[in-house]
Point group: C2
Chain length 317, copies 2
């Protein structure tokens, strides 16, 4: 199966596959944020997911999709952090080895989580080429299955379970906003949301310092010639090819946000929702507040993607 074949049924199958392992995360509301936004906001708290991010959904679906022989050889991935920790933990739920290639400069708390879950770390330079080369090397040496952080269809289907769950918990939505890095979460969310209700508008919140999804859609072709420069460490990856196709098929609109807006939104989420969220998560609220003309009076789902933040280096200090 390829990502192009993915449909709601694959997301539903993923939800069934991960049900014994993943949390059903709560949905929170805030009257004060509703008033600030002039819209009805419904927050899906994936920072409260296992390993602290939605990534566990996709990783868990990938791990539990493997046949016995492949599973025994383990899994490998490259990740700036959350996907690595998620895959390490998912592998542990099945008792199989995990190898995680991590670029230098990844958030300390995320590396610690990967190690705590029992995975083997492989350090590399912080470029996509170095990450992919190192992952291929580990794959060749171990026979482990590569679980790409966002192009793997099993991962995309798994990420879509957050939106599926949100729509079941919160009822009808006019719009859905999720952060975009490689495009696994947004792709899966669009499949789930449009499978249930084709009228839902799907938006991707993207840092201006890593605006490859925005540029790719504007140019009409995938554009990857950038060096990420954003506080959103979870969104520095490059938009994937199948993910780009999903954005186009689902008419996803990308909403750019600046780091200062992200920091302000992050602080609002900590203050008003009492949630520890990482900068990547805050892009969704930042996007809603900057582009509020899209959302006035609407019922909007926002996916808070993760909460793995270094408490010693908060950005407003």
């Amino acid at each position: 199966m390829t990502a192009a074949d993915l449909a709601l049924d694959h997301v539903r199958a993923a939800a069934a596959r991960i049900a014994a392992h993943a949390h059903v995360t709560p949905v929170l509301r805030s009257r004060s944020l509703d008033a600030l936004a002039g819209a009805e906001l419904v927050f899906k708290c994936e920072n409260l997911q296992r390993a602290g991010a939605f990534k566990f959904r996709g990783a868990c679906n990938a791990v539990w999709s493997l046949d016995e022989a492949a599973a025994r050889r383990g899994v490998v991935t490259h990740s700036s952090g959350n996907h690595g920790a998620a895959l390490a933990l998912a592998a542990r739920t099945r008792g199989i080895p995990a190898h995680v290639v991590v670029p230098q400069g990844a958030v300390k708390a995320k590396l610690a989580a990967i190690e705590a879950a029992g995975a083997t770390l492989h350090a590399c330079a912080p470029t996509m080429a170095a990450r992919e080369a190192m992952a291929a090397e580990v794959q060749a040496a171990t026979g482990a299955t590569l679980v790409h952080p966002y192009t793997d269809p099993r991962v995309i289907a798994g990420q879509g379970t957050a939106a599926l769950e949100l729509l079941h918990q919160a009822g009808p939505l006019d719009a859905l906003i999720a952060p975009i890095g490689g495009g696994g979460l947004v792709g899966g969310s669009a499949i789930a949301a449009h499978g249930l209700d084709p009228a839902i508008r799907v938006y991707a919140a993207e840092p201006e310092g890593a605006a490859d999804a925005y540029e790719s859609l504007r140019r009409g072709e995938r554009w990857t010639a950038f060096t990420p420069d954003t506080i959103c460490d979870g969104l520095r990856g490059t938009l994937g090819e199948p993910n780009f196709a999903l954005l186009r098929r689902h008419a996803v609109e990308v909403l750019p946000v600046g780091d200062a807006e992200v920091i302000a939104a992050m602080r609002l989420l900590w203050e008003r929702l009492k949630l520890v969220v990482e900068p990547s998560s805050a892009t969704v609220l930042a996007a809603l507040l900057r582009h509020r003309e899209h959302f006035a009076g609407r019922r909007v789902g926002l996916v808070l993607s993760g909460g793995n933040v270094d408490l010693d280096a908060l950005p407003w200090r």
Copy 2:
């Protein structure tokens, strides 16, 4: 009705009375905290309650228990913060005036919340005598009903709804730990818990720098001759007379904790549960980790009381 007459039915009635206004807060689990504690921990997230603390439950029950004539004259209280904000918001849900007496030195974020809810602030010296005198003055001038932060039976019954809800959500518990300041939450929790299951052990987590509940039980009489010195700004109040009686009737055991333990536990809750909790909330985890012989292998409910913390002054910085 006095606090001595309170029973499970009063807590149930309070739950029905506040249902249209208060959140049903989520219950969270953490495998890593379970492993650390050697027990099965179930966290009741009252930091996610309206106005950011369990206090909204008691205030809301008090406000909606008033007859029409009394309600029109409004409510008044004295509070270091969370009860004041809660009463202000509860009054707004009924469209009646609220007056809040606040001691100097209260947390800025809490004062802002009280004002944002539309209450009138009255500043006073940070002593219990000054607080009570100022409240009596406002009461005389306006005819407002005094809603004491923890001795009022309507407040105690309302606070008990958190434990009632927790037991419905989480199933049977061996033990329940709640923070103690004046004793409204612990008193209400004991009534609810023992009304459902007399075998549940009820514990109160108390800062060593405001250990009046511990000392009162030890001496066998209410002891109030102390000046609070603790980071737990929500727990500096003095144990109430009816609250002391409830502690004795329900064989509540007080577990003292130091501020350093509270700060470490607070950080653990932020990191592992991804929740913004204030120091007072963290006393429950600190108490469990310090007094772990009581809890090994048990299923323990912990009430995270609130999340109103100054994000510019985190205690581990």
